[in-house]
Symmetry: C2
Subunit: 141 residues, 2 copies
DNA sequence: ATAAAACAATACCGATTAAGTATAGTTTAT
DNA sequence: ATAAACTATACTTAATCGGTATTGTTTTAT
């Protein structure tokens, strides 16, 4: 019932990239130091984000990372799922056979959990990095 | 981002107790067998639920468990928090110093996560065991 | 009073996952 | 050709999860 440390780092890294000038590229090391994220761990996380198209990576000298799309087009859910996979709040919502072992016909627990999961998913979808960027600017840093 | 197995078991055990006749007491063994929950693990879970007043335990011969309050007065959140502790979706929402280490003044990530956490908490509060009981009756089992 | 049927408390254990590190390789600007 | 960056994969350590074991307590029936 808690986000991974990696997801927390990912949120902060993507926010950092959101605040750059358009076209600006920064090395992982800069993000790592500014956000207090262990460098090698961050590199791993950035790879997941790159796979999902959330960031774009540039190899070689002068390389680094930049956002892969506009901040407004990246939601917290996008980042969360890039790092942790799909939001699933209970085993019975992953493996459809799970419930059938316990409740042969119909499982009311499953029923409401599915609904809660949907609300949670929507909730993470509600926030994008344009909004976070505004908050950040507004309050300084 | 997922509920404990123990919480899942707890939901099902409390639902089972909700469906009993008023005043009826059942041994852990009966719940265990009916719901496919390892007995000793269930006993541990029931102890947490008893501490929270959700179930009432009776020792000695002829003892067992019954609900500690009306099904309508037990929410999914009550059960979840009895088993796992308070709903906290990120480390920075547990330890207030955590954010300050990283973002010295104001942390927009923290800000929105706090709001999401509140929504999630309300969502688990929305469902009580009277409702689950109705679903269960309606669909048989 | 004592035996047995239940729960209580605590400690332990093995497996999995999370968090982070290491090693070797690839790409690219200079 | 070299060095500065990222890539890929595998490894390691620590924490958590899911479950079990042991010993003790309470209560009812005999």
């Amino acid at each position: 019932m808690i986000l991974n440390q990696a997801t927390d780092y990912a949120f902060r890294a993507v926010l950092y990239l959101s605040l750059l000038q358009p076209g600006e590229i920064v090395e992982a090391k800069v993000i790592s130091e500014s956000q207090n994220i262990p460098l090698r761990f961050l590199l791993k996380i950035l790879r997941s984000l790159a796979k999902a198209g959330i960031v774009k990576s540039y190899q070689g000298v002068g390389g680094g990372y930049a956002l892969g799309k506009k901040p407004a087009d990246i939601t917290l859910r996008d980042v969360l799922e890039a790092v942790e996979g799909p939001i699933r709040i209970n085993k019975c919502l992953i493996d459809p056979d799970y419930c059938n072992k316990q409740a042969t016909t119909y499982c009311p627990v499953h029923h409401v959990l599915a609904s809660i999961q949907q609300t949670i998913t929507q909730e993470f979808d509600k926030y994008n990095f344009e909004q976070l960027k505004e908050y950040a600017k507004q309050y300084g840093k």
